[in-house]
Amino acid sequence: MGFTIQNPSSESSATSSASRGSDASSPTPARGLIIVPAFNEELGIADIVKRIAESVDQDVLFVNDGSADRTLDRLHEAGVRVLSHPVNLGYAETLLSGIEFALQHGYDYCVFLDADGQHDPKDIARLVQTLQNRKADVVIGSRFLDATGYKATVGRRTGMVVFARLASWITGSRITDPTSGFKVLSRRAMQAVSGKVFGDLHAELIVLLAVSDFVIVEESIQVSPRRHGSSMYGVLAAALYPLRTLLAMLIAWLEARLNRRNGEKP
């Protein structure tokens, strides 16, 4: 795909240029990796593989998180690249495995796309373009930036609003959808979150990066209802999610503040 990132950050740009040995003053074609975490998605995974292939011409990595069903078989049948965890590690660790892969293989940015079919792969190009044009480190696909008609249960919606307000207050900029799983991260942002311990890479990721002066922007997206399978949050996990995220946000804020005081980047 022909995306270019024109000096998204000094470090990212330097990495891109160095890896290709090109002139640092000219725009460097950026390599992006779409990371799709998959856990027990055997019914819908073939559909998302097809939709991605139809929508973008970009490198894709499926990360199978120890699925108990035939997700891994379906991915092998589809002929896509798969990084597979032998046991289930959870959503955040699956994304972090994708980030490690992207860093090791010299990608300049990565895209998180959920495997449940709710995110439209056609939006990827627009989000990556925003990363380029606004020289951002993170682009969040927001369900609430525009009136997209996204519906959620009252409890879930309340949690989203609370975390959005909290993230906006802590970061000092308007964040409408900190719990979105559809994100684009620059290489600099990937390096910052690599090796860190997070809850679900949601609000705490935004707090860590925003307090560390990374540029975070939102782009409106539309999401579809889940086509197959069920939510990764069971009753207990859903009940604990707000507390886990609050603790993770506090730790991320503390780490970012301490790093700032010591003059370090996360």
């Binding site: 593989v49 490198d59 894709v60 896509v80 690249r81 965890h85 032998p86």
Partner: protein
Amino acid sequence: MTPQGQIIVAIGAMLAAFWIVLLTRKKTLTVGYGLFWLIMCLAAALLAVFDRALNFVTALVGAIYPVSAMTLLGFVVIVGILVLFSIRLSRLHLQMIQLTRYVGTLEYELTHRDRPDETPSA
């Protein structure tokens, strides 16, 4: 503590110590944990047998009855152990994540070693 209570605690501690030794011998318990629990058993037995030691501890922790002091000490030890185990479990969890990621990466590299030029396209 009544003589009956002293005997029960001392015999209980000895039986527990014997069980710990068996578990350690079978490698169900590691030597480190086995040693820790043996020390706990020995401490309980000594406090039960030696009245003066238990009375000293009772006065030290501000308890009225020796049995209350032993209960308090047991509670403190249990909480300490739970915190220690939480730390150990967290460390094991992080090691498990690292190992899982390492195995996944190795498997990926093995699967794709014959196709080094391929990019991970869909």
